[in-house]
Amino acid sequence: MINMTENILVVKNLHKTYPGEIPLHVLKGVSFSIKEGEFVAIMGRSGSGKSTLLHQLSLLDNPDRGEIIVGNKELTALGEKEKTKYRLDSFGYVFQEYALLPEFTAIEAVSLPLILQHYPMKESRERARKMLELVQLGDRADHFPSEMSGGEQQRVAIARALINNPKILFADEPCANLDSETSRVILDLFRKLNKELNQTIIMVTHEPEEEEYVDRVIHMKDGILQ
């Protein structure tokens, strides 16, 4: 059952400036909300601030000002240790470049977040194997990233992002390095996970054809929402 009645994420007046000789004011007061179970795309031209916004929302970077509220918890005030724990327990990440560790097999990579949550090794592997089957990589569980295609690596990254049942799955241009056929497979998978698991997904993309997979598009231009 899809439940899209409650806001899972509320963003208020978010600002981010990168210091330098000429400071770069990338986010200029961004505010929006996302409902639980929504599949949202953040779109915009290169340099519009969409990736920066995703990095702030996912606690990979610290905004200068503003609020990020997930559930009833305001996250910007959290300390580094609390943010680390929050990322582990409540968020999942899919990066453009897969971000898999070369020394870890698919099943080890997917089970890693559970191991970090102190689940027993055996249980972690069993759950990771099921998650790999969900992304149709059950037969590639013991392969290393170097033995897999780009699409397969990205599906491993998705399985890793989902293994801890995250409140929100963040995807930063997940298809940018993939051909159109493989991109379609990944986007279909996102859509399926969104529909079947009611998984909230926030995805940054600049491909207009990916709009058809999402519930809503947030357009950005020059650091503000359009």
């Binding site: 990095h55 990979l60 970077d61 990322r87 990066f95 971000a99 898999l100 560790l101 020394e103």
Partner: protein, 410 residues
Amino acid sequence: MSKDFFIACWLSFKQTTRNNKKSVVMTILVVALLFINILFVSSMISGLISLVNGQLISYQYGNIVIEPNKDSANSIYIKQADKKLGEIRNVTGVVGAVKHYKSGALITFDHDKDGKDIKNGNWYLYSVEPSEEVKVLDMKSKIVAGRYLENGDRDKIVLGREISGDFGATFDMKSLGGAKPGDKVQVYYPNGISRKYEVAGIFATKNFLADAQAYVTNDEMEDILGQHDLADEIIVKTATTGDEDKYVLRIKNVVDEDLKYYPWSKYSGAMSTAITSFEFIKFIFYTIGLAVSGASIFIIIYINLLNQRKQIGILRAIGMKSKIIVTSYVIQAFFYGLMGVILGRFLMEYMILPYFIKHPFELPIGGVSLLIENRDTVRTILSMLAVSIVAGFIPSIQIVKKNILDSIFK
């Protein structure tokens, strides 16, 4: 904490065992070579010190020198020396004991037997009982020409190479200019007696002071001095070196005369200054070697870790605690350090040391082999492990303090 430590161990195990094998092997090999570098120089200097000390014991003083107590006794000799020798030889742990008469003497040599260009010099002449002497001092094995003395020899003398002036003598100017076995030398004693001796043999220990001595038999010397059953000194060889005080106490219990007892180290004289200098040089080399090795290990592990910056960023992004990451990289660095010192110790013990024992460095003072002292080994191992830990800790703590996005994308 224990679960986090287990995770750190698991992570470092996976990363180390699945890292590029060549890279792992090369890192361990370099650490091993650095370990050998430190230990090699200090072992060589220890070997040199050991050689010098060994020469003092083997060719001059044995382990203990017993002299008359000239302050409390009327005699300048040890009395009833033969009885005392018997008592000392029965002391547990005493390998042998011999008495010496010691006299200065003018030795002359007419090489061409024509009364011209007669070489001469003042030297120390010792008397020995040849059959017992070999149990205490090892001069017999250092004969390089002719033979050693035998019991009953009365007209024979054995010369050190510095007196002979041949066989690699280093102080030729003051020597007899090349006296060889079979040559006749004239010896003038302080009491006015003069004797002609045939050179029985030449010895060369490569210790200058030992090689500047000459030997005749006790029978001959007692005849010259007109004395009997006395001694200038008694030299004692013990089963172990370093326990001389213990043996002195045992000997004192059986010898009733008030004598002076000195361990060999008291006679090292100028050598002790040289040994102190060697020790200091060793300390300098050791410290520099440790600093260079420490810096090298640090750089190797640091570069290794910097190459894994992206991986560290990924681990942080998915929620791994910084302390797990740091611990895992410290464990990896410790592993490299540990494997390196184990390999280095193995190579040192089973390849380098046996080689240099078989093929010592031939220096003017003798063949110097390596002596690996446990103290140096333990200190080097601990130092290198400590450096490895620091080399793992500093870069990993720096990287986990960086912005996650910088670690992954820059």
